[in-house]
């Protein structure tokens, strides 16, 4: 009986653990003239949202993507379709640097 129960529980638990995770959403906060986190690793298909919490406008700009100007409180999202490493900057403040890695 105990063994049967264990099989049932295992059968219930297993599909959850085995199901491939769906696309996730990650947030990069722009605050204090920094991208937080400065290095972010995501899977293909994941969405990355940049949210500007500073009082001045910023951008998140790479060769593959460009948020254009984001005022305080504004967000911009990007679906990471291409694999690779994408260093990006704020074009308004070019010494603000970060990196998005898409696996």
């Amino acid at each position: 009986m105990k063994l049967a129960m264990m099989f049932v529980l295992a059968a219930l638990a297993f599909p959850v653990a085995a199901t491939p995770e769906g696309p996730k959403t990650h947030t990069v906060l722009i605050t204090g003239f920094r991208f937080v986190p400065e290095k972010l690793e995501v899977n293909t298909g994941d969405t990355v949202i940049w949210k500007n919490a500073d009082i001045v406008p910023h951008t998140a700009t790479a060769k593959k993507f460009d948020s254009k100007g984001l005022d305080q409180g504004q967000s911009w999202s990007y679906v990471a379709k291409a694999k690779g490493s994408f260093p990006y900057i704020c074009t308004f403040h070019p010494t603000m640097k970060a990196e998005l890695n898409v696996k």
Binding site: G32, F33, R34, V56, P57, F92, H93, P94, T95
Partner: protein, 183 residues
């Protein structure tokens, strides 16, 4: 050349003198909260005005973009500081430092108005580097330690990265610009 350097030094003297004051003397002689607000507003306005001159005179895309950034960012800081001061019931007050900033700015403005082309761009960017450097020191070493109100202190802490990034940006333009000048 000497005149240019002298002029830049004059522009930064008020803040530099404040930053270099003996630390022990600061607590007693440091600026009050209304004076700190007055200093920040004056320092911001000076850089907005320089930026507007650069936008009117410079033909360099890089210099103009930098100048536009200074106008946009420092205007946002002005709004934020004015709003915070109103909320806290603090009225900006003049001080020898804010007066010095304004009179130093008159010399720099005269110099900016007298220059053209690459000479103008070089003087504007060189001054932006030294000006932001001096403001950074003053914010960290004088304004923040002397601010009494915790919200004002925290707003100044929050403004630190802005001035630091502007200094780095100015140095970047300065180095790129010197390269272009030598090509």
């Amino acid at each position: 050349m000497f005149k240019q350097k002298f002029s830049m030094i004059t522009g930064a003297v008020a803040l530099a003198a404040l930053a270099l004051t003996n630390p022990m003397a600061r607590a007693a002689d440091g600026p009050s909260d209304p004076q700190i607000v007055g200093i920040v507003l004056a320092a911001d306005q000076v850089d907005i005005d320089y930026g507007k001159i650069a936008l009117a005179k410079s033909k360099s895309k890089t210099v103009r973009e930098f100048a536009q950034r200074m106008v946009t960012d420092h205007s946002a800081v002005q709004q934020s500081v004015t709003g915070l001061a109103a909320k806290l019931g603090v009225t900006a007050a003049d001080s020898p430092t804010s007066d010095g900033l304004k009179s130093g700015a008159r010399d720099i403005t005269a110099k900016l108005n007298s220059l053209k082309g690459k000479e103008f761009d070089k003087f504007y960017i060189d001054n932006e580097v030294s000006y932001h450097h001096t403001v950074n020191s003053a914010v960290a070493e004088v304004l923040i330690p002397n601010a009494q109100n915790s919200e004002l202190k925290s707003a100044l802490e929050g403004a630190k990265p802005l001035f630091l990034k502007h200094e780095e940006h100015a140095k970047l333009v300065q180095s790129g610009h010197s390269k272009m000048a030598h090509q």
